[in-house]
C-alpha cells in the first residue's frame, strides 16, 4: 500500500502564519507565537493561545469575501487554507473533488455572540444555521473553484482532521473519487476555551509537552488541508507529489470520556494499525509528530504507548503544539502539513521549552531543531475526547 496515496497540495493557516513558507520559516526560527488572545473576546487574558493573528475583518479581506455575509471564523480560516491547497495542487473547475472537513467548534463563535439576541428579536435569524458544522463546511466548499461534488464532515473532537484525511484516503482507494481535499478547521471560541479551562487542563504559561513539570495545554486555532489523489492520477495530470500518505489507523481507547488510559492502549493500537496499512516496521519511522498536548495525562499515556511500540529504538519525538497550541479538530491537519514540510525539507522542529525528563518515560523529545536530516517516514498522532485515537504516516515523495 505504501506510496499509493499521493499528496499533491497543502494549505495552512495557524499561529505560525499563513501559507507553507511562513509556517516553515516560523518553525525553523523557533519563535513561539503563543500569547494572550487578542481577537477572541474573553476575560481569560492570562491563558496563552495559539491564535491566528488576523482579525475577522482581515480574514474576510484575505478571502475576498463580502463582509456583509456572515461567516464563522472556522469557515474563514478554512477558506484561506483550502484555497491554498487547491492552488498548490493546481486543481481546476473540471476536477471532481471530494471535500472532507474535520471540525467540532463549527460556528460556535457566531452562536455564542448572538445566542441571546436569537431569543429577543428576529433580526439575526439567518445566522442560526451557521452553528451547524455542515453549514460551516459548505461555506468552504462553495468558495473553491475546483468542482466540489461531495462534502462530508467528521467530528471526533481533537482527532477530527486525521479521520477526515483517512476517510479521504478510503474514498480514493475504493475508486469513488480521484481527488480529495481533506483536513480540518477550528477557530477559538469562548465556549471551548472555557470548557477546557473548567477541566483545569490549560497551562497559564506556554505549554511544555513531555516535560516533567508540564502543567497542561494551550488552545490554538487554524485550518489546514491536504490534497490526496492516487499516484497514477497525480502522474497522469503531471502534478507535483509532495509526499505520500502511506498509513492510517483509527481505534478507540474506550477508557474514559476525557482521559486516556494509563498505558495508552488505544494510541498504541492506532499506531500499529497505521504501520500495518503502510506495510512498515516501527524501525522505519524517523520522526513522531506526537499528539503531545502538554497535559499530565496525555503525554504520559502517549509516551507509554510510544515506548511499547518502539522499545529501545525510539525515533525522534516532538510535539509542535508548543508552537501552534492545540487547534483541536484542526490539529491533525496542521500537523499533517508540518509533517510534510519536515519530509520535504529534512527538518525536525524543536519541542520548545523541554527541560526536565519525565521520570515515567524513558525518552526525551527533540529539544532543539534538527536540520539537514533525511526523513523517510513521519508518524503523526492525534487523540480526541472519548478516546478517538488516530495515527497517520507520511512518507517522502522520492520513496
Amino acid at each position: 500500500m505504501c506510496g499509493r496515496i499521493a499528496i499533491t497540495g497543502a494549505g495552512i493557516v495557524s499561529a505560525l502564519g499563513t501559507g507553507l513558507d511562513a509556517t516553515l520559516h516560523s518553525l525553523m526560527d523557533g519563535i513561539c507565537p503563543l500569547s494572550s488572545p487578542k481577537h477572541l473576546e474573553t476575560i481569560h487574558s492570562n491563558l496563552p493561545c495559539g491564535e491566528v493573528d488576523l482579525s475577522d475583518v482581515q480574514l474576510y479581506d484575505l478571502c475576498h469575501e463580502d463582509r456583509g455575509r456572515v461567516l464563522s471564523r472556522s469557515s474563514l480560516l478554512g477558506i484561506v487554507a483550502a484555497r491554498q491547497a487547491q492552488e498548490d495542487a493546481g486543481l481546476a473547475s473540471a476536477d471532481r473533488v471530494a471535500f472532507i472537513n474535520g471540525t467540532t467548534v463549527g460556528g460556535m463563535d457566531i452562536t455564542e455572540r448572538y445566542y441571546r439576541q436569537y431569543f429577543q428579536s428576529f433580526d439575526y435569524d439567518s445566522l442560526i444555521q451557521l452553528h451547524l458544522d455542515g453549514v460551516s463546511t459548505d461555506a468552504i466548499a462553495d468558495s473553491l473553484e475546483c468542482g466540489v461534488v461531495f462534502t462530508d464532515v467528521i467530528s471526533t473532537a481533537c482527532s477530527a482532521a486525521a479521520n477526515a484525511i483517512a476517510m479521504g484516503a478510503e474514498l480514493i482507494e475504493s475508486g469513488r473519487f480521484d481527488v480529495v481535499i481533506a483536513g480540518g478547521t477550528e477557530c477559538l471560541s469562548k465556549y471551548h476555551l472555557n470548557g477546557f479551562n473548567s477541566l483545569m487542563i490549560l497551562d497559564q504559561e506556554p505549554c511544555r509537552p513531555f516535560d516533567a513539570n508540564r502543567k497542561g495545554l494551550n488552545l490554538g486555532e487554524g485550518a489546514a488541508y491536504i490534497v490526496l489523489e492516487s499516484k497514477g492520477h497525480a502522474q497522469e495530470r503531471g502534478a507535483r507529489i509532495r509526499a505520500y500518505l502511506s498509513g492510517w489507523g483509527n481505534t478507540c481507547d474506550a477508557y474514559h470520556q476525557t482521559a486516556s488510559s494509563p498505558d495508552g492502549a488505544g494510541a498504541l493500537e492506532a499506531m500499529r494499525k497505521a504501520l500495518e496499512v503502510a506495510r512498515l516496521q516501527p524501525s522505519d519511522i524517523d520522526y513522531v509528530n506526537a499528539h503531545g498536548t502538554g497535559t499530565e495525562n496525555n503525554d504520559l499515556s502517549e509516551g507509554k504507548a510510544l515506548m511499547s511500540l518502539f522499545g529501545d529504538r525510539m525515533p525522534y519525538v516532538g510535539s509542535t503544539k508548543c508552537f501552534t497550541g492545540h487547534a483541536t479538530s484542526a490539529a491533525a491537519g496542521l500537523e499533517a502539513v508540518i509533517s510534510i514540510l519536515c519530509l520535504e525539507h529534512g527538518f525536525i522542529p524543536a519541542n520548545l521549552r523541554f527541560k526536565t525528563k519525565d521520570p515515567g518515560l524513558d525518552f526525551v523529545p527533540v529539544a532543539e531543531n534538527i536540520e539537514d536530516i533525511k526523513l523517510n517516514h513521519v508518524l503523526s498522532n492525534s487523540f480526541g475526547f472519548g478516546g478517538n485515537d488516530s495515527s497517520l504516516i507520511f512518507s517522502r515523495a522520492e520513496l
Binding site: Y118, Q129, F150, T156, A157, S174, T251, A254, G386
Partner: protein, 319 residues
Amino acid sequence: MKRSPVYINASSHISAQEPFCTLESFSPISPDGAKVLCKDPDFKPFIPPMVSRRMNSIVKRSIAVSKYVLDKAGIQCPDAIISGTGIGCVGDTEVFLNQMLDNGENMLNPSKFICSTPNTIGSQIAIYLGCHGFNSTHVNDRFAFEGALLDGVMLIQKGSADNVLVCAADQLTDSLYGLMDREAYWKGIPVSEGTVGFVLSNCPEGASAAVEDVVLTRSNPSWELDRMLRDNSLEWKDIDAVVTSLLPGEAPDSFAFVPEGVPMLTYKQYCGQYFTASAFGLLYCGELLHRGGKNGRILLAACSRGTYSFILTSSLCTN
C-alpha cells in the same frame, strides 16, 4: 464500478413510533402538532439506573438502540462503531452555553462541556460495550447519516471490518425547536428526534436487506443517479420504488428525474423531521424489502440545499 453488497443484519429505533417496533406497528404521527418527541423505552434492561442517571437522553437512546440491534445480530462487540448526528449533544451544549452567558466565564462546571461534543455518542457506546475498534462520527448536517453509512460500507467492502454498528441520532430541545422553526429550517409536519441503529455486515445470513450503493452529491443528481444505476448494471425498470425525504403530500419537484410510473413513497409521516431522519428512511426501506419477498429493489433518495443522497437497497434474493 459494481461493488459487493453490504448486508443489514439488524436495525431498530427509538423514535416517535413505539420503541423498537416494526413496520406493522408504524402509524402516522399527528400532522397538526408542532413537534413530537421520542417515545423512550424503559432503559433499565439496557443501562443500570446508576449509570443511566448521569447520561443525557441522546447517549442513553444510542446505547439502548445499539445494544438492541447488536443482540438481534448476535454480536457483542462490533469491529467498528460509526455515528451520524446533525447537531450532536445539543442539550448539554445549551446548558454549558447558558451557564457561560448567564454567569460569565468563571466557576463553570465542566460536566456538561465534557458531554457536548458530537463524538460523545460514539465514544460512550464504545466505552459501554468495551469496543476498541474503529470509531468515528459524521456531522454533515442533514447528510450526517449518509456519511456514517458510507464510511461503514467502505470498511466492510475493503475487508477492514466484518461488521459495523452505525448509529444515527439527533435530539430535539425546546430551544432548538424554537430556533430552527423560526428560521423555517423545517417546514410542515412535526419536527421530531430519533435514534436509529444498524448492524452492517459482510454476511447475508440472517440479514433483512442489502445496501448496494451509497452516493452523495452536490453535482447534477440526474447524472449521478444514471451513473449509479449503470455502475450496478441496473435500469429504472429494476427499481420498484423510490422512498424520498419529501414530506407527505409535498410536490416532488426536487425529484423530477424519477421516471413516471415509478412509485414514490415517503417515510417522514412516521418519524417527523430531524437531521438524521434518512436513517429512519433506510430502516423503512429495509422493512419494506424484508416483507416484499424476493427481487425487491428500493432507492432511498434525499435532497437538501442542493445536495442529494441516493442509497440503493435490495432484498436478499436479488444478490
